[in-house]
Amino acid sequence: MSGIRTPEQELARFRNRLAVAGVVAVVCFALLAVRFFYLQVVRYDYYSTRAEDNRISLVPVVPNRGLIMDRNGTVLARNYSAYTLEITPSKVADLDATIEALSQLVDIQPKDRRRLKKLMDESKSFESLPIRNRLSDDEVARFIAQRYRFPGVELKARLFRDYPMGNLGAHLVGYIGRINDRDLERIEENEDSANYRGTDHIGKAGLEKSYERELHGVTGFEEVEVDSGGRAVRALRRTNATPGNNLILSIDLKLQEVVEKAFGNRRGALVAIEPGTGGILALVSVPTFDPNLFVDGIGAQDWDELNNSPDHPLVNRALNGAYPPGSTFKPFLALAALMSGKRTPGQAIADPGFYDFGGHHFRDDKPGGHGMVDMYRSIVQSCDTYYYRLANDMGIDLIASIMGQFGFGSRTGIDIEGESTGVLPSPEWKRKRFKRPEQQKWFGGETISIGIGQGYNAYTPLQLAHATATLAAGGVMYKPHLVKYIESAKDGSRRVIEPQPIKTIPIKPEHLETIRRAMVGVNKEGTGARAFAGAPYLVAGKTGTAQVFSLKGGKYSAKITERLRDHALYIAFAPADKPTIALAVLVENGGFGAQSAAPIARAVMDYYLLGKLPAGMAAEDTGAEAATGDGGGD
């Protein structure tokens, strides 16, 4: 390689290397020959006996999928056994004729045929595919009597997944569906193919997806003796499958129901978290959907309805929707001001009802202003001018750095997929977000609207609840989680998901107390007073109203006026002195937070702390149900 050689030298070296290659090839083949000799001559007797005995075929035994239950044992996902009729396309001469003949015996709808066609496109021809699920006893009997007419068609007993609660909590439970190419890819990447032999469903969304490993279990296998034609003669040995583990959630399903009912037919989300553990008590996104539709492939009509609905029922708003927090941002910004020394609690400003900056007139929503406003009054009365000025004094970098500590603008790490990061605006974010240089520049005026939770601010309801729970826990941040413990279906042993403190934000107790007192004031004498009138417990809260940008609303053609209304928000934790619940509510286009979001929070607190069901639900349930709410005595 070094130096320049003559062509003759080059050629000599090349021929040299050819010789080396030839020798290596011969040596490698000799190695193979030795291996063949070892297998075929030395070990011939052993292998020939093994081949003789190789009448044993391994048949997978599919494990039962784990159950999903709420904290009180109410079942959200379970299995039941039913018969299914399956066809192996490669063993059937005329598929259409066979299906036609079958339809004389069992009810086969056009949608069943369409599903089979779709499955055939997705799978290998030697797999058996379901033509009809959940046969009735009559249909089973009719088919068995005539089964000789249908080679390649089999009756199989299968476990089906069922979500007995239907719509309730659909976004968090998720659903399973048939394994497709992409799932197969993932299974193969995880080297799980062996464990999925015989399994044809896999978690597709929600907990069913994120806890797939726990829920699936370990596939067993049965050694079956086969005759010379390869047909099973008798079972020899069986290694039982290990059933999947059960998930017990921190969710209180009754609470979830209270919330979903309280929303009525409005759209929105609510997340309630137990401060100090991160356990999620309720995770609501409405409207919701029936996960049972997805288990065996959703029909085209159902899919169209769900997917094209302007209400977007399939979107999990609690995790995936990012909304400006409006005034619910203020307590956090006030705390940031205290932490950074930019304000003291007593420092007051005179509010004329507007704030001028750079030639732009930022208006307070109270004409004429709030008069002299200190930190307490700024939160209780939700004074915008106070925060316009505060934002300007703090500057965007300081705001972004302290708010970032509360988890704004980053994923919380909840144990289901699909979380958005939201947007914590900063000059750096803007540089990355926009392409053209003139868009990348941060303007001082943009900082002003950040102060009242508008502008580029956008957070998920989960982030908002997470930050509120962190505030309620005195600055200790716990990773939010839906699963409380995992129960082994084999021996009932429990693996508790320990509360995981992510970090402790250094907040001085007196600063915390200032914010807490002000948030309690909101519900006593401020914007939340009406919603919480007469509550026997102490609630710290903050209302919020977020403008819907006209360009966002522009997408919706129907109901345009309603869709342009502001989003209503509310955050709260209670009891204020020793919080057991923290929450964030969002009502899309709900108008004022105080009017539409706070009453939902009231219903949640009344149920969770007092065991009191709302009027509509109390009538249909007996009193015994009311005792399920824990923490009622606090």
Binding site: F14, L18, A21, F29, R35, F36, R50, A51, N54, E191
Partner: protein, 383 residues
């Protein structure tokens, strides 16, 4: 009478001129292997004989055409072909179709193509062209450039993931580097470390495959794959099953085999992928050690003929190309037989000219055709 003789004469003449582009020894060896393959296929998968015949037909046309293309023409397409291949691979990574868990196919409207296959030929062509262009002024730097040209497509293919093809393309490129004179000071230490490493893993297999042992730098499934090779019984339902069943098939074949169509492993459905990657197990079960050695000898003949052609090739380009192509045949054969007999990990590499599969057969015959062209044009060009 005279007319008949004339006719015979002209037919003979026509046949001679038709066959003239082909290299006799190579054509005979490939023909022998293909015949053996057909015999095995009758037993392994008779329903595929029609398509097999068609594949062989197409492959022959490709081989014949390639043999007529002079090496200079090949040189001129080396760069465009390589660039096209890399672009298609990027296309696959971005818009490829997923089939059986891997993103390997690109839908170009009229047909689906697998660009990684193209790279098996484009890679040695490109590198041979590169070294030819640097002839007489070769520096160490050129080997780095060549290595970069090699690693880009290999990385893209390995990411699909298609480990088998990635290994073959990487090997093809490496062979060009090797023949171009890559220093032994680099080859020997790497080879040594590899051999010692593999030896250590095999020797300590029981200890390091315990479930709680974490392998630094490797993911769990990669550890799993190696451990399955060391002890197939640890994974009887998964990949281990393939290895167990194929070694039983080979071992039970004995010296003379169970006889054509009498392989119990084959016909009782114990052998996985018996017409593609594991067809060698069918061959040895039914034809025994004798059959295995016959096939091995045919491959050795093929390799030696190829090396002979390389030795006589007139230009650097044709030398490097011929040498690399020949060693690709060797790699295919060795890796496949090694994996089926349980001494190499299972990666998807077909048995050359024997495994069923149109694309691979066409690629291989294209390679043979290029070798023939180098042999045929050896005197007309060069020094």
């Amino acid at each position: 009478m005279v007319a008949v003789t004339d006719f015979r004469f002209s037919l003979r003449k026509w046949l001679m001129s038709f066959l003239s582009p082909l290299d006799g020894p190579l054509a005979l060896i490939v023909l022998a292997i293909l015949s053996f393959s057909t015999v095995v296929m009758v037993s392994a998968s008779p329903e595929r004989l029609d398509t097999l015949a068609m594949n062989i037909g197409v492959a022959f046309v490709v081989m014949w055409t390639a043999a007529r293309i002079p090496p200079q023409r090949m040189m001129s397409v080396a760069l465009p072909l390589y660039v096209l291949g890399v672009l298609l691979l990027i296309g696959v990574a971005l818009f490829g179709d997923v089939s059986k868990g891997a993103r390997r196919w690109l839908n170009i409207g009229v047909a689906r193509i697998q660009p990684s296959e193209l790279m098996k030929i484009a890679m040695p062509l490109m590198l041979a062209w590169y070294f030819q262009s640097r002839e007489g002024m070769l520096r160490v730097r050129d080997f780095f450039v060549a290595a970069a040209l090699l690693l880009v497509p290999v990385g893209l293919i390995a990411k699909q993931p298609d480990l088998g093809t990635a290994i073959l393309v990487a090997a093809a490129g490496f062979y060009v580097l090797f023949f171009a004179g890559l220093t032994w000071r680099l080859i020997l230490p790497v080879a040594l470390v590899g051999i010692v490493g593999i030896g250590a893993i095999v020797a300590m297999g029981d200890t390091i495959c315990q479930p709680d042992v974490v392998w630094p730098g490797l993911r769990d499934y990669q550890k799993h794959r190696v451990c399955t090779l060391l002890d197939p019984t640890s994974d009887p339902l998964g990949k281990g099953f393939h290895i167990i069943q194929s070694t039983i098939a080979i071992g039970s074949g004995g010296v003379t085999g169970k006889g054509w169509g009498r392989g119990t492993q084959t016909h009782l459905d114990f052998l996985p992928e018996r017409h593609t990657d594991f067809i060698f197990a069918v061959l040895t079960e039914e034809f025994g050690l004798a059959g295995a050695l016959l096939l091995a000898v045919l491959y050795i003949l093929l390799i030696f003929r190829g090396l002979f052609i390389a030795a006589g090739a007139p230009t650097l380009f044709s030398r490097l190309l011929a040498g690399a192509l020949t060693l690709i045949f060797f790699t295919y054969a060795f890796v496949n037989m090694g994996m089926v007999s349980g001494i190499l990990p299972v990666v998807g590499v077909p048995l050359p000219f024997v495994s069923y599969g149109g694309t691979a057969l066409v690629t291989l015959c294209l390679g043979v055709g290029m070798l023939m062209s180098i042999q045929r044009h050896r005197r007309r060009v060069g020094t």
